[in-house]
Amino acid sequence: MIVGVTYDLLRWEERNLIQEATKLGHKVIPIYTKDFYHLFSEDNQFQNLDVVLQRNTSHQRALSTSLIFETLGYNVINDSRTLINCENKLITTALLSRHNIKVPKTAIAFSKDKALEVASKLGYPAVIKPIEGSWGRMVAKAVDEDTLRSFLEYQDYTSVGFKNVYYIQEFVKKPDRDIRIFVIGDEAPVGIYRVNTKNWRTNTALGAIAEPLKIDDELKDLALKVKEVIGGFFLGIDVFEDKERGYLVDEVNGVPEFKNTVRVNQFNLSEYLIRKIEEWIRK
């Protein structure tokens, strides 16, 4: 195959994907977004790519380049529709709940008054998140109404997009960890626990420690159902464990990082992904 890898920052993941695809005998064409342009009226500058792997760190660049390569008729992993579904937390939550996938209790409001009113229904502590954004940045836990009021005010003065949409969630009393499970093609082959005893946010970017996860059938079925609803070929799904309700899906990542997953599971995710793409392309 000829594999295009579109990226803006060459992280461990991108380097590893390029290496493993090359090892499997494929031709890899790295596409550095900042050196890339597209003129719609002109011919495609890339001939015969069998697949484009979307690896841009910036969501805008990821969405834009996926869309362009789709327009050129290529298979893109992940496609722009999936990236939209993943990046905007309101879209993710809406799609999941419409298809009866359990999510943390989530409220949306468009004014501070209503945000406070609905938060009192959720109860405290409550979690407020920017509806776009990641690595746990600017996700805050409000212990009471007074604190939430301050966070709402902070949101008003940030430069994040959608700042007048307030996305508020119950604080799930999960163990000191959450689950990150990967979907690759029609499988959910690997995952990790992200354990953090010091910070309630369990992103590895915020110092959580990765531990291997044994994937039970329930978790696997859940992951594949999420994929059906969100779309895409390669997803990282964040799941909370709730004592009463079981698994709750928190977020879905359309350009997932996987360095720690590979390390703690001794699982060659890049190779697995490339092989699944081979199968998919052959069909």
Partner: protein, 56 residues
């Protein structure tokens, strides 16, 4: 290896021949540098700061 100039301190930075644009190189002066291509040759510039729309 190619030897490039650090745009921050002016010191020498060794970069692998097969480095790709977008690779991040840490320099001893503390700068985070990004490899890019200028007229077909590898060069270094200050790495882009993490943007608001970054991350997984």
């Amino acid at each position: 290896m190619v030897t490039l100039k650090c745009p921050v301190c002016g010191g020498q930075v060794n970069v692998e021949d097969d480095a790709l644009p977008g690779e991040i190189v840490e320099h001893e002066c503390g700068a985070q540098l990004e490899v890019y291509k200028e007229n077909g040759k590898l060069a270094l510039r200050l790495a882009e700061q993490v943007g608001e729309d970054w991350g997984e």
